[in-house]
């Protein structure tokens, strides 16, 4: 009887838009980084700068379409990709720049959290249950991985908090998709 996608929170167009938004987010960020490397040689800088801005603009437009339809689980996936990309912990350390970046990140995170919280509040009882189950086993898995890492911390490379946050978001989304599908088989 299962005649569609596992949740109304995931539409086919939403899948395509998520992939597009993720790809253009990565491409745009990497292109702007390259533009930064060549900023003294203007022609080279322009080759990367304008396509980079355009890619980020397309990414933003696709995210806007996803949010407008209320398909909030994609926000977890995009945040998981964006966190390591933005590398907030290695941003240039000048006071003015850090303040600008902090305000930008605070605005982005607050908007995303409010949107997700409002969406979950509107969710029906099955979807809330799916979230509880998804969070319980995905976060348990991450905690076990962190405990294992802690035991070998001396011989392993340092672990950035950004990666941990990204893993939490990504595992939550993956677990949510799996749990949603499990109820529709």
């Amino acid at each position: 009887m299962f005649s569609g996608l596992p949740s109304e929170r995931i539409s086919r167009i939403g899948v395509a838009e998520f992939v597009g938004a993720a790809a253009t987010l990565v491409a745009g960020t990497l292109l702007l980084r390259r533009a930064g490397l060549f900023y003294l040689e203007r022609p080279y800088s322009y080759y990367f700068f304008f396509p980079g801005v355009m890619a980020l603009f397309i990414s933003g437009w696709l995210v806007f379409r996803i949010v407008r339809r209320g398909e909030y689980p994609w926000v977890f996936g995009l945040a998981a990709i964006a966190l390591p990309l933005f590398q907030p912990s290695v941003a240039p350390y000048t006071v003015r720049f850090r303040v600008v970046v902090a305000i930008r990140d605070l605005a982005l995170i607050t908007t995303a959290v409010l949107f997700v919280a409002r969406s979950i509040r509107r969710a029906d009882e099955l979807e809330r249950r799916v979230h509880v189950q998804a969070v319980s086993w995905s976060y348990t898995a991450i905690v076990l991985a962190l405990v294992s890492y802690a035991m070998f911390e001396d011989v392993l490379p340092p672990l950035h908090a950004t990666w941990v946050a990204s893993a939490l978001l990504a595992s939550w989304m993956a677990a949510w998709a799996y749990e949603s599908a499990r109820y529709q088989r």
Binding site: L126, E127, R185
Partner: protein, 68 residues
């Protein structure tokens, strides 16, 4: 827990989306209940009974258990 949701819905020629709209839940939730994948909460079970104008025990069979 088995139930007669699909039969009752078919008698009224309602789609899953129609029933979901009347219950204020998603179509996927109706689908999960019909397939026995999810046992509804007591308030939702009462809402189902009210929509079909039947008693809860005539719609849901507590003797058969699902895997939720």
């Amino acid at each position: 827990m088995k139930n007669r949701l699909r039969v009752l819905r078919a008698e009224r020629r309602w789609s899953q989306a129609d029933l979901a709209g009347r219950l204020g839940v998603s179509r996927q939730t109706v689908n999960a209940i019909e397939n026995g994948r999810y046992d509804p909460s007591l308030p939702l079970a009462f809402a189902v009974a009210r929509v079909f104008g039947s008693a809860i025990e005539t719609i849901f069979d507590p003797e058969s258990s699902g895997d939720t």
